[in-house]
């Protein structure tokens, strides 16, 4: 599904190398988790994959089902099936959540040569999905993320994911800011999307989330590289001992 090879990235405006050769392969149907100390480059990886400005790729490659992601515009990557649930969802004053989502869904459909969803069909689907994430009608009407609480923003990310049905989902600290119940809702939302054809890359600091969304593979990222890869037990080890042992091991 997603294949990243030797990806090296620096900041465009600064002489600062952030990713120093990332290798990662997420197969369809699998959930991979990335853990790692603050500032190790996890969000940067997610931004570079989704096409944010401000980075320069100095080496390596990233493909989605064989298609070169790095060549595409952000919106083309989305239409190709890539989705990023933002660590910090952006507020867009004046643009209604519903309008935004309908525009997004239909833009992607159009880009893929599919028929656009009618207003009525769209409404039906979104109501149902919003309900399961406990997002009320008022939140759908309000401007995108404006005045949403931290947890509401994260639930809104998952609603978008559910509506867009991407092939490859990257979740950047979707658990941060969620209360226990919301964590369950969000996890259920994610698990409902798990299927043979879909890959997940879940960035998190905590085992808690991985109790709900059970990963197949766990990676540890440090200083711009994947330094260790293992099974679910690796996350438990981090939970128990922190990163010191792992970092010492590779030093």
């Amino acid at each position: 599904m997603l294949e990243i090879k030797g990806l090296e990235v620096k900041l465009e405006d600064e002489d600062k190398q952030i990713l120093k050769g990332v290798d990662l392969k997420v197969e369809a149907g699998k959930v991979h988790a990335i853990m790692g100390p603050n500032g190790s480059g996890k969000s940067t990886l997610s931004y570079v994959l989704s096409g944010r400005d401000g980075y320069e790729v100095t080496g390596g490659s990233a493909t989605l089902e064989g298609e070169d992601l790095l060549e595409l515009e952000a919106e083309e990557r989305a239409a190709a099936g890539l989705f990023l649930a933002f660590q910090y969802p952006v507020e867009i004053p004046g643009v209604g959540n519903m309008t935004f989502l309908r525009t997004a869904v239909n833009a992607q459909r159009k880009a893929r040569g599919e028929e656009e969803l009618s207003a009525a069909d769209f409404l039906k689907v979104i109501r149902e999905k919003a309900k399961s994430l406990k997002i009320d009608a008022d939140m759908l009407k309000r401007p995108v993320n404006v005045g949403f609480s931290g947890g509401e923003k994260k639930r809104n990310e998952i609603l978008q994911m559910a509506m867009l049905e991407p092939k490859m989902c990257i979740l950047d600290e979707t658990d941060s800011g969620l209360d226990v119940d919301a964590m369950k809702l969000v996890s259920e939302g994610v698990n409902a999307l798990r299927d043979e054809g879909r890959g997940f890359l879940v960035i998190t600091h905590y085992q808690r989330l991985l109790d709900h969304i059970k990963p197949d593979v766990v990676h540890i990222m440090a200083n711009g590289r994947i330094v260790k890869t293992g099974g679910p037990e690796l996350a438990l080890e981090v939970e128990k001992n922190g990163y010191a042992d792992i970092l010492a091991e590779i030093a």
Partner: protein, 428 residues
């Protein structure tokens, strides 16, 4: 030679052969007085402080710069609304295209017709608010209008009017030079909506005087047509009585030169005046909103909301002043002017001013200029919305804050739809 003297001489030279339109009964002396005032003030010059950001040359010149017509197959503005149509073609009333000048709680007459009557209510109003609006800042183009206007309507509202009057300004002649002067009197407790649309002429000088009595309400929604080469100077003068309300909104899309002046005087306690505008333009588009609000009564509220979207070198100007007289306690004055620059070639020039002589007032003003929020743009694109559509969504959201000032939802929706289609048409 002083600037003033030079202006007077230039004006005298330009207007030597000019005399007021004749055969107009009581209008004649009012016109002649106004023309004298123009000679004293002088036509506006580039060196006037009040014209610092907008060149008045082509608005004041003897000759008209021709303006091509804008051809389109769009449905006419306000088409869905039940309204009384008053049509002017290049500044001349068109009876055939207009509806019967009659409505419930309303008299509406042509200026040239009422001028012949010995006694008429408009006699005391024509040019009166314009004259009052000349202090403390001179507005010679408005005085020139009072002197030279050849057509217009006078409207008297005596009760609640449910069917708006729509002044439709058609432009069919590429060299037309139109001067229209309208007077509206909204009597105590009455309410009225005036709609205006269309480019009017190659050059258009418009004055609208609105006298709003106690407990009366006046609503105004205007769009200025899309003929790109047209030049327009409008003046809206209004005086508000106790507990009265004035609301005006203007949409401007295209236009090589627009100067919209709005002069508001709150003279009765507890009155409210809202004036708002949204404009979108590109290239040699130049749009100037100049507002002067005087609070001269207690507990009044005024509100100015102006939004401009500028691209490919367009220029936006905002000059907005709130003057609070010594006795105008408990004044609530708000002013915001914002521009969204879609590229680095465009510019926004703003001069917000507060002049306050009362001590118990709440006045605030703000002016911002900025580009599209990159974070927001990326967020939308990351969800699959193409860059141009994402930009339009955010642009429309920006403009919507001004459009929301329109109370009537159907009118607001129509304005938003026009803005949306303007943006859409410019997409690749």
């Amino acid at each position: 030679m002083s600037l003033q003297k030079a202006k007077q001489e230039a004006t005298a030279a330009q207007l030597t052969a000019v005399s007021v339109p004749d055969g107009a009964g009581w209008l004649t002396s009012l016109r002649e007085d106004a023309l004298k005032r123009v000679h004293t003030m002088g036509l506006p010059s580039r060196r006037d402080e009040y014209w610092k950001y907008t060149r008045p040359d082509t608005l004041a010149a003897a000759d008209v710069t021709p303006a091509a017509l804008f051809e389109n197959d769009e449905t006419p503005m306000f088409d869905e609304i039940d309204r009384l149509k008053v049509v002017f073609v290049d500044g001349v009333f068109d009876a055939d295209a207009s509806d019967d000048l009659a409505g419930e709680n309303l008299t509406i007459e042509r200026l040239v017709d009422v001028a012949k009557a010995d006694i008429h209510w408009a006699k005391d109003l024509y040019g009166a608010l314009e004259l009052a609006g000349q202090t403390p800042v001179e507005r010679p183009l408005a005085a020139y209008n009072t002197a030279m206007a050849t057509d217009g309507v006078v409207i008297r509202v005596t009760g609640a009017v449910s069917r708006p009057v729509n002044l439709i300004h058609k432009h069919l002649d590429t060299t037309s030079d139109a001067i229209l002067h309208h007077v509206v009197k909204v009597e105590e407790g009455a309410s009225f909506t005036l709609l205006e649309n269309g480019p009017a002429a190659a050059r258009f000088n418009s004055v609208l005087e609105v006298d709003i009595a106690d407990k009366a309400a006046f609503n105004h929604v205007r769009t200025q047509g899309r003929d790109h080469e047209r030049r327009v100077a409008t003046h809206l003068f209004t005086r508000l009585g106790e507990e009265s309300a004035f609301k005006s909104f203007t949409l401007t899309a295209n236009g090589v030169l627009t100067r919209n002046e709005c002069v508001i005087e709150l003279t009765g306690d507890n009155a409210i005046a809202h004036v708002a505008g949204a404009c979108v333009g590109e290239g040699d588009f130049h749009h100037d909103d100049t507002v002067f609000i005087t609070h001269d009564a207690v507990d009044c509220e005024s509100r100015q909301v102006f939004k401009k979207v500028l691209r490919n070198g367009a220029t936006g100007v905002f000059q907005g002043k709130i003057l609070v007289k010594p006795d105008a306690q408990k004044t609530d004055g708000y002013q915001i002017s914002q521009s969204l620059l879609l590229d680095e070639d465009s510019q926004f020039l703003a001069k917000p001013e507060l002049e306050i002589y009362a001590d118990d007032v709440a006045c605030s003003h703000g002016s911002t200029t900025g580009a599209i929020d990159e974070e927001g743009l990326f967020y939308l694109r990351a969800r699959g919305v193409p860059k141009d559509i994402a930009t339009d969504l955010m642009t429309l959201a920006f403009l919507a804050e001004a459009v929301e000032e329109i109370e009537d939802e159907a009118l607001a929706d129509e304005i938003l739809a026009r803005l949306e289609s303007w943006l859409e048409r410019r997409r690749g």
